[in-house]
């Protein structure tokens, strides 16, 4: 029952985000567009490259979808509305999202094409940049909640949301999250300008539909994670709990897919330099500050 | 007889055997590192099995697992550091061509 509810809300969320992304890219709000393009993709022929690594080619998009769904499984939408409340939920989210990298490497290597392969390995470099910045802000969040369970993390924010408690961590986490779901300006693995679609270049038909859907799921999972860790999850006045988490997740995901397009694409080397020389010291400072506050003040 | 422990240890033994075969038979440094990783993974299985079925009240057993994971990371870092240096100077990481390292 819970699983069905979560899956249905996930589908609705993916649809709304697809509409929003279309609006951000093309400047027109077309509610029918995702349906039409999905149908078009399903009806189109699925081409196969020459001498592909067939196993990776087929498994890549599916693994991406599975990784996204597993990440969604530990995000609470309302009290009791969570697929599985693990005691190590925050860590499990990381573990599931680590397989986004594996899926993209598979999808890049599989079709035996230069653009795809460069896109896949580029994402590995990108991973080196964002990985620590996903984990370290979550450490600070868990520090305050004194638990890794996502439900406990939401409950710990009843007095003050983490976005006010640790704004530095929030900024770092959202930047890393944009890198994780390869949204502009960090869309290096697909990079429409210089890689001709990158990992998406060799995918057509049903497989491309799965790949795009999986990416929507990953975006929603990360928006859900941001809301859970920093924006108080389902907490809020007047409205019921599920409505609050729905609204917050949609706003965060909408901002993630639309605002980045206003910034020029970041070069890989520059991104690595920024995250290691600036991001990681800031994340360490964040952990230290949160630890001191948690010891001194009782919020 | 604790059959679950036996099964887990048997898996560990099989992974150890496979890893040992790989380490001895492969000619490429990276493949040798993969064999070592398999052997260390076998050690991990054994440690967790010992913790779970013999001493579940002892958190130090879990700490050993973390140390082994650290060892895996260190082994990879150092191995790849050496591999890069060797590839740069000799253009290959084939161990058959590394006779001059023999004492």
């Amino acid at each position: 029952m819970t699983v069905l509810t979560v899956l249905l809300s996930l589908a609705a969320g993916a649809y709304l985000i697809a509409v929003l992304e279309g609006w951000a890219v093309h400047g027109r709000l077309q509610p029918a567009r995702p349906v039409i393009s999905a149908l078009a993709l399903l009806g189109r022929e699925s081409l196969l490259a020459r001498k592909p690594d067939r196993l990776f080619f087929e498994v890549g998009p599916v693994l991406l979808l599975v990784a996204g769904l597993l990440a969604v499984a530990v995000i609470p939408l309302a009290p009791g509305l969570i697929v599985t409340d693990l005691a190590t939920g925050a860590l499990f989210l990381n573990a599931a999202l680590a397989y986004v990298l594996v899926a993209l490497i598979m999808a890049g290597w599989g079709p035996n094409g230069a653009y795809g392969m460069i896109g896949g390995w580029r994402f590995l470099g990108q991973f080196v940049a964002y990985a620590m910045l996903v984990v370290m802000p979550i450490t600070a969040v868990a520090l305050r909640a004194e638990s890794l369970s996502t439900v406990d993390i939401v409950m710990s924010q009843s007095a003050l949301w983490n976005i006010a408690y640790q704004p530095l961590g929030f900024a770092l986490f959202i930047a890393a999250a944009m890198g994780l779901c390869w949204l502009p300006p960090l869309d290096l693995p697909t990079a429409p300008g210089d890689l001709a679609g990158g990992i998406e270049a060799e995918y057509t038909g049903v497989r491309l539909a799965v790949l795009r859907l999986a990416r929507m799921v990953v975006i929603l999972a990360l928006a859900g994670a941001t809301v859970t860790f920093y924006l108080g999850g389902w907490l809020g006045p007047w409205l019921p709990a599920w409505a609050w988490s729905g609204i917050k997740i949609l706003i965060v995901a909408g901002l993630m897919v639309s605002t980045g397009r206003l910034v020029p694409r970041v070069r890989e080397a520059r991104y690595l330099e920024l995250s290691w020389k600036l991001g990681i010291p800031l994340a360490l400072i964040n952990i230290f500050v949160v630890g001191v506050i948690a010891l001194v003040v009782e919020i | 007889m604790i059959f679950e422990l036996m099964i887990a240890l048997t898996v560990g033994a099989a992974m150890f055997g496979t890893g040992l075969y790989g380490v001895l038979s492969q000619t490429n440094l990276v493949m040798i590192i993969m064999g070592v990783e398999l052997i260390l993974a076998a050690a991990l299985v054994n440690l967790v099995a010992f913790w779970r079925y013999l001493h579940p009240e002892e958190p130090a057993a879990q700490m050993f697992v973390l140390i082994i994971m650290a060892v895996m990371a260190v082994e990879m870092t150092v191995g790849f550091g050496i591999a890069i240096a060797r590839f740069r100077s000799r253009g290959s990481v084939e161990m058959e061509e590394a006779r001059e390292l023999k004492g």
Binding site: - | A13, V65, M72, V74
Partner: protein
């Protein structure tokens, strides 16, 4: 009692099978990812054995480590895609004997030893994580710190070894 055994056999079989695939496939990327799935199966075995934190940690860490492994394979191999079906092994007979003897000796010890009574009260997942944290920052702090320091030293040393030597300036 029987259900965890079935899962242990299943995931253990997967771990060993993928471990064998590592050395049997010609494609280097496949080889690295087979190792990844072997390690993931090990992580799933941890989950079956109720070591939740360690299982999730193993699954997370190995995804990264083995992806890095994959790119090094592609960098250093002559034939990363495995289309040429090169033979990259030596002393096969000796290795098979060594692996077989190691396996046989371990199996003999495992199946002949008397393991004594099984531990019974397994702490819950949250309790385990807390115990582990207290262990790491209490009694075992020195060991943990030296492990961290070892990683740092290894990182610095490996980077030093790997950096290209600067070209000498002509005088």
């Amino acid at each position: 009692m029987i259900v965890p055994m079935i899962f242990l056999v299943f995931f253990g079989g997967a771990a060993v099978w993928f471990g064998v695939v590592v050395f049997r496939t010609h494609s280097m990327v496949r080889s690295a990812l087979a190792l990844l799935f072997s390690q993931t199966a090990v992580g799933l075995m941890f989950l079956v054995m109720q070591a939740e934190f360690l299982g999730v940690l193993q699954i997370m860490m190995m995804a990264t480590e083995m992806s890095v492994m994959a790119i090094f394979m592609v960098m250093f191999m002559m034939d990363p895609g495995g289309l040429g079906a090169m033979d990259m092994t030596h002393q096969k007979r000796l290795s098979l004997w060594a692996g077989g003897i190691g396996l046989g000796a371990a199996l003999a010890v495992i199946w002949l030893a008397d393991w004594g009574p099984a531990g019974t009260d397994i702490p819950g997942a949250a309790q385990q994580t807390e115990d582990l944290g207290r262990e790491l920052l209490g009694r075992s702090m020195l060991i943990f710190q030296s492990a961290g320091l070892t990683i740092l030293t290894a990182m610095v040393a490996a980077t030093m070894v790997a950096i290209a030597p600067a070209k000498e300036q002509p005088k």
